[in-house]
């Protein structure tokens, strides 16, 4: 299905860009007149996905993160966040709540937050090639 409207954003995997990424996506989604809670949910989920690219996919380097947002009929928003980083060896394990490879600083809840704050999430990953996370959320326009 073709999107009614879409945007693309490419940014470097620097932690200072996390705030910009979630703000840019939420500003684009604002055209659907979402509630404050829906916008917070989207910001939080995007923040998790972008942080994963920075701390895991490109952990030893700075490279590009590709974000695409599509608005579909009935106010369905799809957000795709893609990297060309190290990839995930075991997606099921990576998505399990509290699982983390960085126990001193990360809670291991990134995917749990994305799952609980969105209606659906799809993760595709190839080791050594990169990961694509797709977040899907329906906005119940006021």
């Amino acid at each position: 299905m073709k999107a009614n409207n879409e945007m693309r954003l490419t940014l470097e995997s620097r932690s200072v860009n996390e705030g910009f990424a979630r703000s840019a996506v939420s500003a684009f989604v604002a055209q659907l007149d979402p509630t404050v809670e829906e916008i917070s949910d989207i910001k939080t989920a995007v923040s998790e996905a972008v942080t994963n690219c920075i701390v895991h996919a490109y952990k030893n380097s700075v490279d590009r993160i590709y974000i695409w947002v599509g608005i579909f009929p009935e106010s369905v928003v799809k957000i795709r966040i893609r990297d060309r980083g190290c990839g995930i060896e075991d997606i099921k394990k990576a998505m399990a709540p509290l699982y983390t490879t960085l126990p001193d600083e990360r809670a291991g809840l990134g995917f749990a937050v994305m799952q609980s704050f969105c209606d659906d999430i799809k993760v595709r990953s190839t080791e050594g090639k990169g990961t694509t996370v797709t977040l899907i959320k329906k906005i119940n326009s006021r």
Binding site: S15, E18, E37, T44, S47, T51, V55, V113
Partner: protein
């Protein structure tokens, strides 16, 4: 400044502000840890009143401070939490570790 700390041996309060994510939490963590490791207060209060956004990095922030305080028998209290922040905290079960007061 994303964090201002009121030092006290009985109750030390860290006033957090702005957006708490992976980027900002590194600095906040360092500031708080440096203070509580030295002072070893009985209680640490994390004040979220001026926090406008928090993702799971904030969970790591609270849990890590909980572990550190616990290591010398101190307690952690969380206050001024918004609806969005509470949603993230509940997901992690932080409400089971520390007393949380909402905004």
């Amino acid at each position: 400044m994303p964090v201002r700390i009121e030092k006290n041996k009985v109750l030390t309060t860290a006033y957090l502000s702005g957006e708490i994510d992976h980027h900002s939490s590194v600095f906040i963590r360092e500031q708080i840890d440096e203070c509580i490791a030295k002072l070893q207060p009985q209680e640490l209060c994390l004040d979220f009143m001026s926090v406008s956004f928090m993702d799971s990095s904030g969970i790591g922030l609270v849990m890590g401070r909980y572990r550190l305080m616990n290591s010398f028998g101190g307690r952690v209290r969380v206050r001024g939490v918004s609806k969005q922040t509470m949603k993230v905290m509940k997901l992690a079960g932080i409400d089971l570790l520390a007393k949380i007061d909402c905004k």
